[in-house]
Subunit: 275 residues, 2 copies
Amino acid sequence: MAAQRDEGDEVVTGTPTAPGADRADGAPGADTAEHVEEPTALTRERARAIPEAAVARLAVYLRVLSGLAEQGVNTISSEELANAAGVNSAKLRKDLSYIGSYGTRGVGYEVEVLVGQIERILGLTRKHSVCVVGIGNLGHALANYGGFPGRGFPVTALFDVDPDLIGVPVGGIPVDHIDDISRVVAEREVSIGVIATPPKAAQEVCDRLVAAGVQCILNFAPVVLQVPDYVEVRKVDLAVEMQILSFHVARRADEATESGGGPDLSDVDGVVIRR
Amino acid sequence: MAAQRDEGDEVVTGTPTAPGADRADGAPGADTAEHVEEPTALTRERARAIPEAAVARLAVYLRVLSGLAEQGVNTISSEELANAAGVNSAKLRKDLSYIGSYGTRGVGYEVEVLVGQIERILGLTRKHSVCVVGIGNLGHALANYGGFPGRGFPVTALFDVDPDLIGVPVGGIPVDHIDDISRVVAEREVSIGVIATPPKAAQEVCDRLVAAGVQCILNFAPVVLQVPDYVEVRKVDLAVEMQILSFHVARRADEATESGGGPDLSDVDGVVIRR
DNA sequence: GCAACTTTGTGCCTGCGTTCACAAGCGGCT
DNA sequence: AGCCGCTTGTGAACGCAGGCACAAAGTTGC
C-alpha cells in the first residue's frame, strides 16, 4: 500500500511511499550503506533520475515548443523559452540537461529537436489508450475532449454503473458496464484509467482498474486512494484547489485589514507580516 | 509579472506546486529568523508561515475529518488520521502544528476542533463566490457541480462569448457575456475566477478577470498565464497530468524490457530498483 | 498520589530541488 | 585563422521540506 503523491501543489511532487515500506531487499541496517548508484554511468536514459517536478515542467516546455514550431520558429534560447514557460532559465537548462545535451552553445536549442526528445522521454511516441470511469458531468466532459488534451491519449473506453447509460455513445464511444472493465481494458489495451466517479465509488473502481491491469490512474474523486506500490496515481482535486485559493483570499484579507490598506496591494510589497 | 506555480506538481497539480515560486514578500532570510515565537500567543494567524504544500494537505485532512465527524468519531490520533490521509504521522503533526496546538497528549485530536481550526485557517468560514468563464464541456461540468466540491464555493456567475449561450441558464445560473465581466464580478462579489476557455482566449480572459478585481484564479486552460504579482494562479493541466502518467508508463516499459521481466516485478533478479 | 503508558509537539538531521555562477564550447566577424 | 561574444551545461551552495526520534505532557490504573 502506498499513498499517492499529493503535493500540492497541485498535484505535484513528493513521493510518499509507505514509510519504510520499500527496500524489500531486507538487510535492515543496509539502508545507510549503498545508495550511491553510479551517477557517472547514466547511460540509457535513466528515467528514474529525472525528478517528477522536472517531468511536469518538461510537459509544459513541450507545449510551448509545439506552439513555437507551428509558428515556424526554428531556434530558441533557454532564456526565451524559460520566459514563455514561466520558469527561470537556469532551471530550464537543468531540466533539459536531464534528458541530454541537445543545445548549441552560443545559439540555443533547435525547436524540432527538443520537441522530439521531450516526446521521447515522456513516452509520447506511443499512444496511450485511456478509459474514463464514471460518466457524470465531469466524465462527460472528459469523454468529449476526444483525443484528450494534447492528443496522443485516445479515450477508448467508458464505464459506468447506471443502466440507462450503458450502450449510449458519449463522445463517439459507447459506455460499458463497469463489470466488464477487466475484459474491455484488456481488449483495448488501456494503460491509463481516469476516475471521475463520486467519492464513495472511487476506491472500488480503483481496485477494479488495478485488478484489470491498469498501472496508471488519474483520480478526480476527492478521496485518498489506496493502491499497491507499483501503481502510479495522480490526483486532481478541485476542492483542494479551491481551498488553497480560499486560503490565499483569506490571507489577503487579513493583510489588508491588518495594515489598514485597501484592496489594492500593489504598494504594500515590503514585508507585511510583522511579527 | 509572476509566473504561477506548477507543480505540479502541484499541480499540485502539483505542484507541484512549485515550492519557492510565490513568496512575493521578499525578505529572503526573514522566515528563518523568528519562528519560535510564543506559541501561546499566536493570536491572529500569520498565514504566510504555512508552506503551500502543507496547506494542500490541510485541505485533505479537513475532508477526512469531515467524514469522520459525520460518522460520529470524536477523537483521533495523528497516526490514524495520517493513515487515512495517506501521509506519515510526523508530517501530519507538523502540518497541524502550523495552525496551533489543538491536540491532547496521550489522547489525540478532537475531530470537531480540528475541523473548525482548519476551516478557519483555510478561510472557509466565509463563502467565496466563484465565476466560471468558458461554458464549453468543462465549463458546463463545473457549473453543474453547483456549490463546487466541498461546498462553501457557490458559483454565482458564468461567462462566455457565444451569443447562443448568453442568457441560457446552466446549473441554474444564466450565462453572461464576457464583456459584462467587470460589472457582474463587482455586483456578485466574485473572489475566485475559473478559466475553462480554449487556450487562445485564456490570457485575455485572465487579464479581464484581473482588471475586474479578481485576485485568485483557477486555470484549466493549457497555457502559462502572465499575471501581476498580487494575483494567485493555480492551474489544473490535464495534458500535463496525462503526460506525467505517460512518462511513468514508458519508464515501466523500459524497466520491463531492460530486465526481461514481464509486468510482474516481484520475481526479477536482484536489482530492479523499483522506485 | 504515583507510576506506567500513550501521544503530541518539535529540534535536528538528511536529502532534494532550486539557484548561482562560471568554464566550456560554438558561431560570427574581421 | 584567430578573436570575441553569446549561450549552454553543470559543479557547488543554499534553502526548504520531510522524517526521525525524543522530551514534554496528559491519562489511566492502581
